[in-house]
């Protein structure tokens, strides 16, 4: 197909694809799936942190967490807007999330159980997210790439805040140190899972990489994350919960254990610790909010017709 060839040539040349440009159906479909899933992750991702806003230990920590959660909702907004340029509305995407037809990042199906989890989420989860997102600033689809630029700036700020919480905990009382270690124990492998299954088991990878809507392989990013994070854990005086973790002089990288992929597929398929809670919370919010959305639309329509009548 000459159209497809021309399209691929533009991408190979580093051109940005814009909403009105021709694009293959598969490109559009994959992008919608990927951007939608990313947007949903920002929205659902508010919940594990929201769980601690009302119990934040100081006014400053409460303010920082509120600002972070607000940023995440903002990221969701950018991403839904980027997805809308592909011809799918925010309401359609939301409906697919609530019907279980679209996913969000599995990491948010893990519970936040102590204040140290606010540190671990920032440090590990945002850290892993950034690994994924930084290269996506150069993705081939213009609106997506531009959303990523804005998002990455804020995410790295969040990651530093998370690390700062971990520092305070790791240098705190015995109980705080215990919380910090416990948080690392629970979030380490789920964070590694955030990069997806090993490349050999990954479905869409090759085509997505050719289209530049995926910039690196899952294993590459996971390795990079481990190499970056292990020294940080050491700096904190915490132990990564992997007995087989060790520095490999030959490769110049860390060797580490694979996460339990059975658990990963369990969580993906709905059996994570919080899948039901998270989705029910969002469904409830959507259903409870229906009268508000309807009311605002009705009022806007009245105002509009009054405006027309007055002309």
């Amino acid at each position: 197909d000459p159209q497809e060839r021309a399209f691929q040539e533009r991408i190979d040349a580093g051109d940005k694809i814009e909403p009105k440009d021709w694009m293959p159906d598969g490109y559009r479909k994959n992008l919608i799936r990927q951007i939608g899933q990313h947007a949903h992750s920002e929205i659902v991702g508010q919940l594990p942190e929201g769980n601690w806003i009302t119990r934040a230990p100081t006014l400053e920590r409460k303010a920082i967490l509120l600002a972070k959660v607000q940023d995440e909702a903002g990221h969701g907004l950018y991403l839904y807007c980027a997805a809308e340029t592909l011809g799918v509305s925010r309401d359609e995407l939301t409906r697919m999330l609530l019907d279980g037809k679209m996913k969000y990042s599995s990491i948010f199906n893990y519970p936040t159980l102590t204040w140290a989890d606010m540190g671990a989420v920032g440090w590990l989860v945002d850290g892993a997210a950034i690994m994924n997102q930084v290269p996506l600033q150069r993705t081939s689809y213009g609106p997506y790439a531009r959303a990523m630029v804005r998002i990455c700036k804020e995410e790295s700020f969040h990651q530093r805040q998370g690390f700062d919480i971990m520092m305070k905990m790791a240098n705190g009382t015995d109980a705080q140190k215990k919380m910090a270690q416990d948080a690392l124990n629970r979030f380490w492998f789920p964070s590694l899972m955030m990069f997806g299954p090993s490349d050999k088991d990954s479905v869409h990878s090759a085509q997505s990489m050719a289209w530049r809507i995926k910039m690196n392989t899952n294993d590459e990013l996971r390795q990079k994350f481990v190499d970056q994070t292990v020294p940080q854990a050491e700096y904190l005086g915490l132990t990564v919960p992997d007995p087989d973790l060790r520095w490999n002089d030959e490769t110049g990288q860390y060797d580490f254990s694979e996460p339990n992929w059975d658990e990963f597929f369990d969580v993906i398929s709905g059996n994570g610790p919080c899948n039901t809670e998270r989705l029910n919370t969002r469904k409830q919010a959507w259903d409870d909010g229906a009268w508000v959305r309807d009311g605002m639309l009705a009022h806007a329509a009245k105002r509009k017709s009054q405006g027309i009548a007055a002309q």
Binding site: V44, T54, L59, K62, G289
Partner: protein, 251 residues
């Protein structure tokens, strides 16, 4: 005077702390993404204002306590917020109506406090008043839109107005603390804000096609601390958990 000023500052800071807490409970659960963002932003502003008011309160008290000590280590009886602000969120209509009643009061109060004889009070008010004005613009618009929306949204907003109205009067009830603040030129007599507040509320209610109840009964006991509602204790159990469970830790 210094105890009066301390009490006054607690009232200012507890109002923003307690309302900020309630608003933050909406996190991830608002009717839409724009509302989620706006509510988080409102809560953030209120917590920022709390840091200033309670920080100054702690200084005035001079007992070596910090803003965090005041927020996280007092029990119900020492809280000085308005009863209205500690009420549970109920639905979005109730949350927004409460916000509107308070914002309309807060803007008037902060505007006047910019001319306080106490320079620190004037300074904090000046920093807060723009945020409050923005909150008011937003909550008033929402009250109008939802009051004048569908039958259901109208009915829900009217219920919220009916339920909250008996809690509005406490904002304007003056006591010895208020009289001392007024005499010292630190803060206006709250009663002096009522007429203008009422004008604003009447206008928004009219645009929203909503009706204020006729009763002038006003619940009391929050700003004096004499008798809070049962809701505050539950809020504090959550808010103060970490500080209570791990005394002396830094976070």
């Amino acid at each position: 005077m210094s105890d009066g000023l301390f009490q006054f500052l607690l009232r200012m800071g507890d109002n923003t702390l307690v309302l900020g807490h309630r608003i933050s409970e909406w996190c991830g659960q608002a009717p839409g993404l724009e509302e989620d963002i706006a509510l988080a932003n409102t809560a953030l502003d209120l917590i920022g204002q709390t840091q200033m008011w309670l920080g100054y309160a702690a200084e005035v008290e001079g007992a070596g306590r910090t803003a965090d000590d005041l927020a996280f280590l007092r029990d119900v009886w020492d809280f000085r917020n308005l009863l209205m602000l500690e009420r549970p969120n109920l639905d979005f209509g109730h949350t927004i109506t409460r916000q509107f009643f308070f914002d309309a009061f807060h803007v008037l109060l902060l505007t006047r406090l910019q001319a306080s004889s106490d320079a620190r009070v004037a300074e904090i008010a000046a920093k807060s008043v723009k945020e409050a004005a923005y909150h008011l613009e937003r909550s008033a618009d929402l009250v109008i839109a939802l009051g004048d929306g569908t039958d259901e949204s109208h009915q829900r907003m009217q219920s919220a107005v009916d339920l909250l109205w008996p809690f509005a009067g406490e904002m304007f009830a003056a006591d010895d603390v208020d009289n001392a603040m007024a005499a010292a030129g630190i803060a206006p007599d709250p009663a002096s804000l009522r007429a203008e507040w009422q004008r604003k509320v009447d206008q928004v209610m009219a645009d929203a096609t909503l009706t204020l109840p006729e009763s002038q009964f006003a619940h009391q006991g929050g700003k004096t601390g004499r008798q809070h509602t049962e809701h505050l204790g539950h809020m504090l159990a959550q808010m103060q958990w970490l500080q209570r469970a791990y005394p002396g830790a830094t976070w």
